[in-house]
Amino acid sequence: AQTVTQSQPEMSVQEAETVTLSCTYDTSESDYYLFWYKQPPSRQMILVIRQEAYKQQNATENRFSVNFQKAAKSFSLKISDSQLGDAAMYFCAYRSALRANSKLTFGKGITLSVRP
């Protein structure tokens, strides 16, 4: 079974600075997707970024980028120029690409606070 580990429960960053959120996963599969989701306080969870395992290039979405290290099974999220609106809980998630109806496996999440 696949597992996703987010070992840091909380992190804090100064506004305008850069922060990196860590995630590791364990799988024996070769083809899969990795995701970062953001859940602001009392608000809906949204997809931040997605990475396909067969793509070597790291995904980027505006100020959000990932560092995908397939051999190390590591998938960290970098947030550049942090803004107050980035304060949220962030979840890392894994999905197999080998089965059409595979489910997401989530990490336990990390709470990011942004200091003004």
Binding site: Y33, R43, M45, R50, A100, N101, K103, L104
Partner: protein
């Protein structure tokens, strides 16, 4: 934009009551999911459905059932609510081929 709606944001029920949580998506997605979210445990999958009338158990199906009579609607049923089912319930949908899920706003259920 994809929209996933849930019937209630907050719900308070008594132990032993039958509880229905409704979820509707408007993007013709094949897959629909029910999760519960608890502090320190992250999101855990209760049930999912990849087609009308089809369902599969997730990681924690005990005490729950689901119904999917129409493609856009996925219901979670607590046959006899218990206090340990007090939680945040999140519904999600996703298209095929699978990508990321689109989540609803959540229902915070309290069972007293």
């Amino acid at each position: 934009d994809v929209k996933v709606t849930q019937s209630s944001r907050y719900l308070v029920k008594r132990t032993g009551e039958k509880v229905f949580l409704e979820c509707v998506q408007d993007m013709d997605h094949e897959n629909m999911f029910w999760y519960r979210q608890d502090p320190g445990l992250g999101l855990r999958l209760i049930y999912f459905s990849y087609d009308v009338k089809m369902k599969e158990k997730g990681d924690i199906p005990e005490g729950y059932s689901v119904s999917r009579e129409k493609k856009e609607r996925f219901s979670l049923i607590l046959e006899s609510a218990s206090t340990n089912q007090t939680s945040m319930y999140l519904c999600a949908s996703s298209p095929l081929p699978v990508g990321g899920e689109y989540f609803g706003p959540g229902t915070r259920l309290t069972v007293t």
